[in-house]
């Protein structure tokens, strides 16, 4: 980065607190035109907060905020838009009732004669955007019912259509598959070549090093260091992020495999998945791989009884499980850590104790009476075992960072001492430190004889953790690979098999 030219974006010692919570104490960032700048840091490091300050969602408490050299102070996101800043937020924010097209253009619709909005023009442009991203979404379809992946793609289309001089992407790839990530990167590079500035936040180092030319590290809400990509390496970055050396990311310790725990036969749900059959054995970690939108979550949800299914049967320890009843699944010994922890995993407004005890509280009642004391006594040890960071059990989980929340979710399910743990995207949006803890925990549990079904969009994670990899493609299981044969090539081949047949 040539210090001479004025940077597009410059932040110096920006701070932001939410009441007593200091989210950002001294955030600094300097982004040059024509560069892609990575922002990395553990969960809760303050990345998203920093982004939201730039976007005008939050007003900074202190520090300097310069855009194109002159100091600015955004009161709302419309200010930042007008200043040419486009942001992809960490959580997709769409209007479910409106069409995909309206979601992209809301607030800045193309208007024709008499300020009437010009739908035709916008449909055309939306289709153009999707063409450019290489996805095939109907702009007229309502946003309701889209998978996280599809929602993320709309966010991206929205952002690039803004044609901004500064594009900030907060973990855009968290829900995306390899193909889509590649397309996104292609677009990102082309934008950079146009001379725009991009900020890219991700917990996946392969992506960071693949895409970005500069990396800024944050820790505990403060700026740590900035490096040119070629001058550094991921272990170095990781060390700076955590401030300590991190153990091997995928410490899978082989456990001896026992008798089948979960047996799924001919599971089918119209429009989502078809004759899905597989088993998971005691002590075994089965990875469910596939492109996003392949239907893995749907399969998991059906097995656990959150969704219904049209045909097939699910058996746990030989006993058939009533369909469409999570309660039945839980009582039979299943646990399910869902994909979206804020919406599905936690009651974020409720206390840590309530959340951790929420599944087992039925057993905590004495003489039919359930007391907060009983809940705390039951929840404390599990929260402790997962090293949840909170200073009291009656804190709400709302303001915790992603990783910490994930720990609460896992604690809540381990408290049920299940025979089978289904875990969907165990480390989506979780920092390396917590990530390795989670992986260590999983293999430890497997070692103790728990059967684990793990869904992940991160191939390295699947290959690293799983004893067996099932590949899902368009709602069908297209491969069942033992750990030995599970090479990236094999998995990707199976994950795209039918597509090739089709194409």
């Amino acid at each position: 980065m040539t210090g001479s030219s004025t940077p597009v974006l410059e932040l110096r010692d920006v701070s932001k607190s939410f009441g007593p919570v200091v989210a950002l104490r001294a955030g600094s960032l300097r982004v040059e035109a024509g560069s892609i700048h990575a922002l990395v840091g553990e969960n809760g490091a303050g990345k998203s907060t920093l982004v939201k300050v730039v976007a005008g969602v939050h007003r900074r408490d202190g520090g300097d905020f310069l855009l194109g050299g002159d100091s600015v102070d955004f009161g709302s996101t419309s200010d930042s838009k007008d200043a040419g800043v486009a942001v992809i937020y960490q959580e997709p924010t769409l209007f479910p009732d409106l069409s995909v097209m309206e979601n992209i253009f809301m607030g800045r619709q193309i208007v024709g004669r008499g300020r009437r909005i010009d739908r035709a023009a916008m449909y055309a442009e939306a289709e153009g955007l999707f063409g450019r991203l290489g996805v095939d979404l109907d702009p007229r379809r309502p946003a309701r019912g889209l998978s996280i992946a599809d929602q993320q793609i709309i966010e991206i289309a929205k952002a690039i259509s803004l044609d901004a001089r500064l594009l900030i992407m907060d973990e855009p790839t968290a829900a995306l598959s390899g193909v889509e990530v590649e397309r996104l990167f292609a677009v990102a590079r082309s934008l950079r070549d146009e001379g725009r500035a991009l900020v890219f936040i991700s917990h996946r180092f392969d992506e960071v090093f693949d895409l970005c030319d500069t990396i800024t590290v944050m820790r505990d809400g403060s700026y740590v260091a900035t490096h040119r990509t070629e001058d550094t390496s991921s272990p170095a970055i990781v060390a700076e992020m955590v401030g300590r050396e991190v153990a091997d990311l995928f410490p899978k310790t082989p456990a001896e495999i026992g008798e089948p725990v979960l047996e799924v036969e001919g599971l089918q749900s119209r429009g989502v998945f078809h004759d899905v059959s597989f088993t998971v054995r005691r002590g075994e970690i089965v990875g469910l791989a596939g492109l996003v939108g392949a239907g893995r979550s749907e399969i998991a949800r059906a097995v656990f009884g959150v969704d219904g299914y049209d045909a097939g049967r699910v058996r746990l320890n030989g006993r058939e499980i009533r369909r469409r009843s999570p309660r039945a699944a839980i009582d039979a010994g299943m646990a399910f850590v869902p994909e979206d922890r804020r919406a599905q995993g936690l009651v974020t407004e409720a206390s840590v104790a309530r959340n951790v005890a929420s599944v087992i509280r039925g057993g905590l009642a004495r003489a039919g009476l359930l007391t907060t004391g009983a809940e705390n006594r039951a929840a404390g040890p599990w929260a402790g075992r997962l090293e949840v960071k909170t200073n009291a059990l009656d804190m709400s989980a709302r303001t915790m960072s992603g990783g910490n929340q994930q720990k609460v979710v896992i604690a809540k399910w381990l408290a049920t001492e299940p025979d089978l743990l289904i875990i969907d995207e165990p480390t989506r949006g979780i920092d390396v430190g917590t990530k390795s803890e989670v992986h260590r925990l999983l293999s430890e549990l497997a070692g103790q004889g728990m059967a684990i079904l793990m869904i992940s969009s991160e191939l390295p994670e699947v290959l690293g953790m799983a004893d067996r990899v099932l590949v899902v493609c368009e709602g069908r299981i297209t491969a069942d690979l033992p750990r030995a044969d599970a090479t990236p090539e094999a998995v990707m081949h199976a994950a795209t098999r039918q597509l090739e047949v089709a194409g």
Binding site: S17, F18, G19, P20, V21, V22, R25, E42, N43, G44, A45, D61, D220, V306, P326, R327, A329, I330, P338, A343, Q344, G345, L346, V347, T348, E349, A350, S351, V352, R354, S358, V359, R361, A365, L369, L370, T371, T372, G373, N376, G380, A383, G384, R385, E387, K389, T390, N391, A392, L393, D394, M395, S396, R398, T399, M400, S401, K412, L441, E444
Partner: protein, 350 residues
């Protein structure tokens, strides 16, 4: 893993958790109004006050119990007053056709349960919005009630029962109806605050999807609540009928808004997930006391309405107003040694 860390149970001392609550505010306000009235309102200290007051608010007190739980799940039941009217008519018609009051009352309760079950089915199992559904059944139940009796009113009830509805306990001024109320109040408190069912009720109000993932039977919980609401409303209808010795289709018209106003005043969030029963009970009493005191002062109804309206609005804007003031006040951000752990994050709402 390494030595598991331990936590304190609470982030705040007991007195803060007990005293600095919305409920406590309502209770204090209620007590204050009572004391003021005793001192300044002529005849408020009279022997009849307690009796009349409790008799007047009894139906609202009763219906407010299930309504509280329903609103905590994020739903609402606008049809309660119509169920009061319908059960009243039922009681009258059946009694007219020779059934004894207790039998007729029992059937009226069953009818109430059926009404609640219908609401519950459409809302919990078909998944329709409760506001819309219960506006519909509000019209439907009331329509049936008025349709059944038309211009007639049944006024011949066995003395014994009408007396019971207006009697007081022994020599005290406490109406007999307070006995079933207290029993129900205790029952509902245990259900809401000391049972797994109650925890489910709060979870549903805060995040029903997560509750579903956690094994809470969202549909059944809601259904049960609406059935309870139907039964209790019907019971209120029976009491209402016997107290006034008159079964009519238009009994208790418009009471649903009074009940909801009281529940919200008592600190229950219309968004669900927040609120406690003692606050609600205080809310009902507060409205009753104010109305009674103002009548004694010869103040007309409309002023009472204005005051209730203002209280209602104050009860919801007070919180944001205070926090707004708080942000205006100079605040020193204490550098917390463990930043990723907010030194003192917001305590859980429930």
């Amino acid at each position: 893993m390494t030595s598991p860390r331990t936590y304190s149970d609470f982030s705040q001392p007991l007195w803060r958790r007990v005293l600095l609550t919305r409920e406590m505010a309502v209770i204090v306000l209620t007590v204050a109004v009572v004391l003021y009235s005793l001192a300044n309102v002529p005849n408020f200290d009279g022997p009849l006050t307690v009796k009349f007051l409790l008799q007047d608010i009894a139906p609202i007190l009763l219906i407010a119990l299930p309504m509280t739980l329903i609103i905590i799940t994020g739903e609402i039941d606008l049809s309660v007053a119509s169920i009061v009217g319908l059960s009243s008519v039922m009681l009258g018609v059946l009694h007219d056709n020779g059934l004894s009051v207790p039998v007729a009352a029992l059937l009226a309760l069953l009818l109430g349960a059926a009404c609640g079950a219908l609401n519950g089915f459409l809302i919990a199992y078909v998944g329709l919005p409760s506001l819309a559904v219960t506006i519909g059944t509000l019209a439907l139940f009331r329509g049936i009630a008025v349709g059944l009796l038309g211009t007639k009113a049944v006024t011949e009830f066995t003395e014994r029962w009408t007396d019971l509805a207006t009697d007081t306990l022994g020599s005290s001024n406490i109406p007999v109806v307070m006995v079933p109320f207290v029993v129900l109040a205790i029952g509902f408190s245990l259900l809401l605050h000391f049972s797994t069912f109650g925890r489910g009720v709060y979870d549903i109000g805060l995040n029903d999807e997560a509750a579903h993932f956690t094994g809470v039977n969202v549909a059944r919980t809601k259904w049960i609540l609406f059935v309870l609401s139907g039964v209790v409303s019907a019971f209120a209808g029976v009491y209402y009928t016997l107290r006034f010795g008159s079964a009519r289709g238009d009994n208790a018209t418009g009471m649903e808004l009074q009940v909801i106003a009281a529940v919200l005043l008592g600190g229950v969030s219309i968004f669900g997930g927040r609120g406690r029963l003692h606050g609600v009970i205080a809310g009902v009493v507060l409205i009753g006391v104010i109305a009674s005191a103002l009548r004694l002062e010869g103040v007309t109804v409309n002023v009472t309405n204005i005051i209730i309206g203002l209280l209602l609005i104050a009860s919801v804007i007070s919180t944001p107003l205070l926090s707004w003031v708080a942000t205006r006040l100079p605040r020193k951000a204490p550098p917390s040694e463990e930043p990723t752990t907010p030194k003192q994050a917001t305590p859980a709402g429930v």
